[in-house]
Amino acid sequence: MKPKIAFFDFAGCEGDQLQVANLEEKLLDILSHVEVVSFREVMTGHSDDYDIAFVEGSITRPEDEARIKDIRSKAKYLVALGACATIGGVNCIKNFMSPDVYKERVYGTSGRWYSTYAARPLKKVVKVDAELHGCPIDRSEFARVVKELLLGRQPWIPDYPVCVECKKAGNICRYDLGRICLGTITRAGCGACCVTEGAHCWGCRGVAPKANLDAAREAMNKNGFDHKTVRDLLRFFLGDTYAPL
């Protein structure tokens, strides 16, 4: 029987689900092996009977918790999709402000109506079986992981830093250009796409499991990047993981 898959989202930009839609023909091929029972972004109809749940977005409100727990209880396998879901992502930038302040900023006096709390990744609320990192996710990685699940194996996700892929791509290291980069501590899997496209690594795939943060920070400082610059960069996506930095 075909495994049933479903997509859900919480606080996020839906870019990850769009990445899935952007698989185009490949998606149609993959779909021949699975049955999509819920994918609000592209289809009408929904069923509570699913094997694999792909969940995008962070948990940012108490009431989201009930929904994600319900999804968890129905899914045999839960995959967190994208930085908001895996590490909290940009949503965590607000965690460094007082809720009173950011509510007031955006909603004025009506701010008090809004239930919201520090944004957090799914794994802080429910058990997550696999994580597809990135902001947005890499569509070929998504395809590969789905195929690996269909073939019955735990997905392979790199545990080394982005520098590895950056070297494979043949880029000039940002540090050699006097620029900053988080590739030294960020989990690979994106092919160093941001560096390749002229930017630097922002850390969207989370910190590599054995990353040497002290060394990385020292390297950034030695290369002339002050505390504030480093902190801002670490708070772009990694606010939840390395909040005190």
């Binding site: 070297k167 043949g170 250009l177 054995k210």
Partner: protein
């Protein structure tokens, strides 16, 4: 060695002719004042005076990712795939040719690596005498300043528009003469080339190993327990950059991926590095080199001793790429070897 004189004005037509059969790569200036090999075509400026190719040339023989076998998931059958495009590397420095020669040796030994050999065979290498030395390089003191094999032609710029071209293989000579007869090099031209070579070797000495490179294996023999490893390794990011940029590092991982219909698949290899934390990690979470110190030491032992023990050459040719690649400034073989040497002198 047979040698000819070639004028800059002749080169363009040659490149155009070679391009018909080969993808030609040449050193060019890239971002940030660095140089790298890029595909040649009309209008590409060749940096004859480049100091170092930012990326290692091993990627032309051992690509970052390379398919090994394709298989049929239903029938459970497999077939081999070889991809070896005809290519020409124009302007490879002697130390890099040394790196290629070492890879040749490693890949030919034991079970010959046919993937590598196919690519190697399909690649024409034209050497070039360097005219500048990269800040981080120390090849001249590693015995890697000259080569006598591993190239099809070897070019030395002997004047503003003149090259002395030495022949390294019949294939090279044929390609050189394809467009027509050339003047055999005069004794004076050979002398000019010799001088150019001496000059660059001299320039390279400003950044050198403080002792004879042949002592390195013996030195490392005594240094297993040196406190240096731990001190340096504390700053190691385990980013593998030093491995991946190294012309003589060749380790790889093998993985595979099925197509979207789950009918066919491909098994490929991809660059790996001994500095990565899970390089020696096996199922069940046992890691044979769990500590940064162990990984860090292993790399220097490979570069300075293990390769030597097996093949009679150092695993480091002194190109200095790792020196530049290491963000935390700890991957400098010259500095490590010098420091260990210094310390060993005090011991006796």
């Amino acid at each position: 060695m047979t040698a000819y004189t070639v004028y800059l004005e002749q080169l363009h037509a040659m490149l155009a002719a070679w391009s018909k059969e080969h993808q030609v790569y040449v050193p060019t200036a890239v971002e940030g004042g660095y140089f790298d090999f890029k595909p040649w075509r009309e209008g590409v400026e060749i940096a004859f005076d480049y100091d170092l190719a930012y990326n290692t040339l091993k990627r032309y023989f051992l690509p970052p990712k390379e398919d090994l076998v394709v298989f049929d998931l239903a029938a459970k059958t497999a077939e081999m795939v070889f991809d070896a495009p005809k290519q020409l590397l124009f302007g490879v420095h002697p130390y890099d040719i040394r790196g290629i020669n070492q890879l040749d040796q490693i890949m030919e030994t034991g079970a010959p690596d046919q993937y590598y050999l196919h690519r190697r065979d399909a690649t024409v290498v034209f050497g070039l005498t360097p005219m500048r030395v990269a800040e981080t390089a120390f090849w001249s003191s590693m015995g890697a300043g000259e080569v006598d094999r591993g190239f099809d032609l070897f070019w030395t710029k002997t004047g503003p528009s003149t090259f002395l071209v030495e022949v390294g293989s019949m294939r090279g000579e044929k390609m050189l003469l394809a467009a027509g007869e050339l003047t055999p090099a005069s004794a004076g031209a050979r002398e000019a080339a010799r001088k150019a070579h001496l000059k660059i070797m001299e320039m390279g000495r400003s950044n050198a190993l403080n002792f004879d490179w042949k002592q390195v294996p013996r030195l490392l023999d005594k240094c297993w327990n040196s406190p240096l490893w731990q001190k340096k390794a504390e700053l190691c990011l385990a980013c593998g950059s030093c491995n991946l940029v190294c012309p003589t590092c060749y380790c790889f991982d093998i993985r595979e991926e099925a197509d979207e219909l789950l009918q066919k698949g491909v098994r490929f290899r991809e660059w790996d590095g001994c500095m990565l934390t899970s390089f020696a990690l096996v199922a069940g979470e046992h890691n044979f080199r769990a500590k940064a110190l162990e990984r860090y030491r292993h790399r220097y032992m490979r570069k300075g001793k293990y390769i030597y023990d097996r093949y009679g050459e150092l695993g480091c040719i002194g190109c200095g790429r790792c020196v530049r690649a290491c963000t935390t400034n700890i991957a400098n073989p010259r500095e490590v070897f010098n420091t260990l040497w210094e310390a060993s002198q005090h011991e006796d």
